[in-house]
């Protein structure tokens, strides 16, 4: 990574708001590109963040996405006011999803979000 300082920020995410779903991750992607992170890393971080953002929108009333881009590390923290995940191991399985039907009709609920975050995170 060619950057020499740390960039930090956060996005507030409102649950249930599909009209703006993905805006935070899209903006983070633009920020990463503008500070000179290489394309492949940007793609991985954007994908993981997008999945976290969607989960906050689908499963919780509200949440916050924090990012810290520093030399050698990009850290994304997703916090929400939802019920949390009871059985993490189960939720991590490919295809496991409790998404309601209307979410499935919007193109989500494939149960690949957490596996996706794992695949793309360090």
């Amino acid at each position: 990574m060619k950057i020499d300082k740390t960039y930090e920020g956060s996005f507030h995410i409102v649950g249930g708001d599909f009209s703006r779903a993905g805006e935070a991750s899209t903006e983070l992607k633009t920020i990463m590109l503008s500070v000179g992170i290489e394309d492949e890393v940007v793609r991985r971080v954007a994908i993981a963040t997008f999945e976290a953002e969607m989960n906050i929108i689908i499963y919780t009333p509200a949440g916050i996405l924090r990012y810290s881009i520093s030399p050698g590390e990009i850290r994304i923290i997703a916090e929400d006011m939802g019920p949390g995940i009871e059985d993490i191991e189960l939720a991590m399985q490919k295809g496991y999803s409790t998404a309601p039907d209307w979410v499935r009709e919007m193109g989500w609920g494939a149960g690949m979000g957490l596996p996706n975050m794992k695949k793309n995170a360090g």
């Binding site: 490919k94 295809g95 999803s97 039907d101 499935r104 009709e105 193109g107 494939a110 149960g111």
Partner: protein, 118 residues
């Protein structure tokens, strides 16, 4: 064309029904998609349905639309209630590790050769 022939050519693994899956049924054409409302609206009688949805509702859709079988792609395994329902409704579920694109691509050629459509 018989479901059995398609299963053989594409190396699909039948999961249901448990004893002697009924692969003798005729396939009229194919449908690819993961949005249940679309499948309800656009699939046709006797279609083989290619999807990566594993949710129990896929069986209800296949039953209502009189589809010949469900093919679940990308190595995904259906949930246990999906399997139970498929057995009781007599809807064959077949699995493949291949993608929807590849499965559809190969099946298109096979069905086209027999003048069957999607």
């Amino acid at each position: 064309m018989k479901l059995k022939e398609i299963a053989e050519i594409l190396s699909l693994k039948p999961l249901t029904p448990a004893e002697g899956p009924d692969l003798e049924r005729e396939v009229s054409g194919a449908y690819v998609g993961d949005l249940l409302s679309d499948v309800m609206a656009n699939s046709e009688d006797g279609n083989i349905w290619i999807t990566l949805q594993t949710h129990v509702n896929i069986v209800a859709v296949a039953t209502l639309k009189n589809l010949s079988a469900i093919v679940i792609v990308n190595g995904r395994m259906p949930e246990s209630d999906t399997l139970d329902r498929a057995v009781s409704e007599d809807i064959p579920i077949l699995l493949t590790g291949k993608s929807a694109f590849e499965t559809a691509g190969k099946l298109y050629r096979i069905l086209n050769a027999r003048n069957l459509q999607g």
